[in-house]
Symmetry: C2
Subunit: 302 residues, 2 copies
């Protein structure tokens, strides 16, 4: 299943806002086995939104759209999608009740502008947004799925997790995908590639290795896809033991670990504590150390 992500918003096109919505949605889709083919950003313009859809729909089974649903920008996304799919807006009582409640809790009267947010295309599935006034919309059109979500990150994330991902999971073929990140330090990426070349070329076809370099760290990601959960899991264990044999000292952690988490674990396991004296790092070292939950057990003072 291929997906495209379409982010609508002028603040993304002038570079004032970094598009973290796209990477969040991409990670979520990737996590359930949906391949993200393209990520596109356009302005709040009817013409640009339509052209973008025409660019994506021939090759993607699903297009996830964010943005352009706020009351201040004339709901351009909603009107454009309704027109494009030949639908009419109709009043949606549950969405109106939600808007009224949300505003009431903030001590605000419902305005005509807010009421407009409850006018929704008659052919869409409404995705109830408990976090904000703009409902999400799910369109089934010509065997494709188009989903429209608000651009506000926490509202978008709520709707992805509560409404979009559960629906999508049912449609994705139930392949097993296992992934593990191995965090290495001490070897630059190009050397690491040389060291791992033979091992990498012997990996099975259902396995992918990705190099993800960061300052001072290269993350190696192994992804294995298969029909049988147990077989995939055993394959991952095998590759892990091979990799750890090739890089006995360079792998310092896995997945979401960080240097400060790993150091914290080592301290806790050995019953040791740490103190720091900082000058030009101005508290940053102790900030890193204490950002780990439970660090008060081994962090003494500075």
């Amino acid at each position: 299943m291929n997906a495209s992500i379409l982010n609508i918003g002028n603040e993304l096109l002038n570079g004032l806002v970094v598009n973290t919505n796209a990477s969040y949605i991409a990670r979520q889709l990737d996590g359930i086995g949906v391949y993200v083919k393209r990520i596109d950003t356009v302005s709040d313009s009817r013409d640009d939104i339509v052209k973008s859809l025409e660019y994506h729909l021939p090759e993607s089974d699903i297009v996830v759209i964010t943005g352009g649903l706020g009351p201040t920008n004339d709901d351009i996304t909603k009107l454009t999608l309704a027109d494009k799919f030949g639908m009419k807006l109709q009043f949606h009582q549950p969405s109106y009740d939600n808007i009224k409640n949300l505003l009431k809790n903030r001590g605000i009267e419902v305005s005509e502008t807010n009421r407009q947010q409850a006018m929704l295309p008659d052919g869409c599935v409404v995705l109830a947004n408990t976090q904000g006034t703009a409902p999400g919309m799910w369109f089934n059109v010509n065997s494709k799925i188009v989903v429209s979500l608000p651009g506000v990150p926490f509202e978008m994330k709520y709707l992805m997790e509560a409404e979009v991902l559960p629906r999508l999971k049912k449609r994705v073929q139930s392949k097993t995908i296992l992934r593990k990140l191995f965090l290495t330090t001490g070897i630059p990426e190009s050397y690491l590639q040389d060291i791992l070349r033979d091992w990498e070329s012997a990996l099975a076809e259902n396995t992918q290795l990705a190099y993800l370099p960061e300052p001072g760290i290269v993350k190696l990601r192994i992804s294995i896809t298969g029909d049988d959960q147990k077989a995939v899991s055993e394959q991952l264990s095998l590759y892990e033991s091979q990799l750890r044999k090739i890089l006995p000292h360079e792998i310092f952690g896995t997945d979401n670990e960080t240097i400060e988490i790993v150091v914290g674990k080592m301290l806790a396991n050995r019953g040791k504590t740490i103190s720091v004296a900082e000058s030009c790092t101005g508290g940053y070292l102790s900030h890193l150390i204490t950002s780990v939950p439970g660090s008060s057990n081994y962090f003494m003072e500075e």
Copy 2:
């Protein structure tokens, strides 16, 4: 002048990397008066790169491409562009010398793979990359500009600043664009919009107001475009004084200022100092305070 940004890379499509290259390039282009119409991300695939170019080129005067130039991913961007524009690869001695020098400084011999990076399309302007082994490429095709840059952020930034922006500035109509950010706190975005509605609707046509909400802060951006530098500057001063009259207490800073910078300035101006005692913030407050250059003059201890 319209631009599109095309970022090539699987690490962007699976969400493991946030696309900060796009926002950097967008800010730079916006800063010289080039309007960014679209930002598109595709994989290291010939077919996807060609389709993306066909999507962008009809409406953009320039397409800035990043990624797909490293020796490990078969130079797919370079080969695709050469094919698309009917060019042949030829050996480029200055690029080869640069590659040799860079690798020599790292104590590495030039491999055949590295030598391939000096094979460049015969019709492009080579943009010398002093920061890495992949040269940038500038194509003039059918009155459009296509620029291809490495995806490594510091190499891309070097080439943008040293090679791309100076060339583009010469082609952009010499309009003046002045912008100022006003940082407000204490009023949610929707209230702020209500308060500013009358003022906003009276702004001249050459003026744009953007609301950029962040946690606890709403940034207001005024952008004014015009032919006459002095007139635009006076117009900005007028709007600033009007805005400050409407929001006498809510604007705490402008442009790149932060709360810690503003607090630091207030302390320095009054000859006051500050100490903090932190527990669960674990050094983060002092980290923020000391992240401001000169803070050792007013930050005492913790």
